[in-house]
Symmetry: C2
Subunit: 372 residues, 2 copies
């Protein structure tokens, strides 16, 4: 006989909302019953992956009957070479999202304090809440994450983790390498600094902070989802102290990586000229988008990434109207979630075709935002 109720979840799970960090563009397309003309809202790379990576993934499709190497041996070797470190400093996971989940699980339980910036990456917050941690948020300062405020708050609450994205999403801003290096040198003794460097590949390596890989209180998150154009392949990696890199083995989904993705990432790293070419294309696209913004009387912010935050010249309600109108016209964009950053919409570097659609739709969006 069928019983009436589900077995009880843990009290922690019971306390969690069923909300999701992001609504995907496909859900919006289903809602609006049309495909987007321009998909420039999730900071994906419209320029796609390296042709070498595409070829490698296509070749590996036939071999997908085999599980991927759970040790990610070859990919770790190649990443170690890229970064001039040994492979035991590297942890690999199902995107930075997956790695952030594992990282939080390693350090956070009920009663543990974590510090981040209000309006920074919500998926990190999702994991902290999901493991029962106590989140503390400091404000942006001049649209940048504020290392001094993060450090003060960490000292105040005895934080186990400080999360800092550099370059920052959603504003596109950076902190100078020296500032991050100072932060790394002045951490409270029991605090880990999680540097989300998803957008690092859009900068020269010299612009990124110089931190020894054996610093025991730093983990740097990198990804193939942005400059490498492989968001759908789910490959993130972390650079950190060997002891922390090893600890991931205690809890990770050992066979979690797609074999096709492993092959694609390996080939992408072989295409040494690729990132430079992408940065040129992204630079051109952001110039185009900035020009479109300026033509429409809007103020694009400086960006160290593959997207632009564009000040819509009002408050969050105004920017939301602009974004909604763009979405309903077929242009997928997003916007920051907290004031005053939510005066902006966030637009990803698009193809020339994407930019043309944006140029056609933005005036109508601004008119709509003025009206009501």
């Amino acid at each position: 006989m069928t019983k009436a109720t589900l077995p009880p979840f843990t009290p922690l799970v019971d306390s969690l909302p069923a909300s999701v960090p992001f609504v995907g563009p496909e859900a919006l397309e289903r809602m609006h019953e049309r495909a987007f003309l321009a998909r420039i809202g999730a900071n994906e790379s419209v320029f796609g992956p390296s042709p070498l990576a595409i070829e490698a993934m296509q070749a590996e499709a036939k071999g997908v009957w085999q599980y991927g190497d759970p040790e990610n041996f070859e990919l770790k070797q190649a990443l170690a070479k890229k970064h001039g470190i040994t492979a035991d400093h590297i942890a690999i996971g199902e995107g930075i999202d997956g790695l952030l989940g594992y990282l939080v699980r390693l350090f956070v339980e009920a009663g543990v304090h974590v510090v981040t910036t209000d309006g920074a990456y919500p998926t990190f917050n999702y994991h902290v809440t999901g493991f029962g941690g106590h989140l503390h948020k400091v404000s942006f300062k001049d649209d940048r994450e504020d290392p001094a405020a993060l450090l003060d708050k960490a000292n105040e609450v005895g934080a186990r983790i400080i999360y800092l994205s550099n370059p920052n999403n959603p504003m596109g801003s950076t902190n100078p390498a020296r500032i991050i290096e100072d932060l790394a040198d002045n951490l409270p003794p029991q605090t880990l600094l999680c540097l989300d460097e998803a957008y690092a590949d859009f900068l020269d390596a010299a612009q990124m902070p110089d931190i020894a890989p054996d610093h025991p209180q730093i983990i740097r998150m990198r990804t193939f989802s942005k400059a490498y154009g492989m968001a759908g392949a789910r490959i993130g990696y972390a650079i950190t102290h060997t002891e922390l890199a090893t600890a991931f083995h205690k809890i990770r989904n050992h066979f979690g990586m797609s074999r096709i993705s492993q092959a694609g990432a390996l080939a992408a790293l072989d295409d040494t000229g690729y990132l430079a070419a992408i940065r040129t294309k992204v630079g051109r696209a952001l110039s185009d988008i900035a020009a479109i913004a300026v033509e429409n009387g809007l103020a694009p912010l400086a960006s160290a990434t593959n997207f632009l935050a564009i000040d819509c010249g009002g408050d969050g309600r105004r920017a939301a109207k602009v974004m909604q109108s763009l979405i309903s016209q077929g242009i997928f964009v997003r916007m920051p979630g907290t004031a005053p950053q939510n005066r902006c919409i966030r637009i990803t570097a698009g193809t020339p075709e994407d930019c043309k659609h944006l140029a056609a739709c933005l005036p109508k969006a601004l008119a709509a935002a003025k009206q009501n």
Copy 2:
């Protein structure tokens, strides 16, 4: 200045071993410094995925710059159609391994009891331990999982979850549908039955237990890793009560699925004749392997899966010697971990070429096992 130590892990993480559930064949190949002649140890499908799935994955490689749909909308619709249920009964994740991790996280914390069979799937145990649960193990009975013993133990300890794989791995045995249905009808009120049905596609649907999808105490795990030949794509799904299916959204890695895998799975489901053809090939391969075993004086067990447990006629030490010799000769096989099931080695259905290699290497392996 660099601090000397890592921030502290949670006490639970500190208590976990760094051991892994399985060593992958690639690690063995690196250790032996040679590629395997036959990869028939991980119950992968050497016959590969449907040509339609390969084609779809190859086509999607170019689109991999986009994140996959976090709602897995189309794939859920197609799976709902396959199973004659609505999509809200389905949860999708990064292989059954990933889903088992999420499931355990939903229900298990320190002090929660869980029941499984000694020698059943170690990755489930890994997750239970990883979330602080207390594992209780009952024995196989005649090389089958023993629903009565599982139920008794669950009643005794007040288990939150009973894990039962049917068909069973590593023995290849099944329990009659009626027995599982009885178990489902007699669960203690606060116990969830997790049915791992990874090998279900090797049976007729009519041979599987008939359980209403809205039974609030059952979750059934399925996969594209076995009969569909897509282990490296990491696609598992669960069929369960809508409330439990929804609860996964509270904790899962929403953007964790590979976009290429999603496309491949969708195309695989479209190839309606594929599973029947695979079952024919698997049946032929298992007959060949059984014949090789018998020729060598060994006793293959009955199998409802794509692998055979083969009784090596001694204890675990003897079977381990046979396995080790096969591995060092280039034949990747595995074996059960607990007595008396560890009198067997476990061999996956191979290609005719794989079987030829096995036939050539097995006599030497048996001779080696006799010698020392």
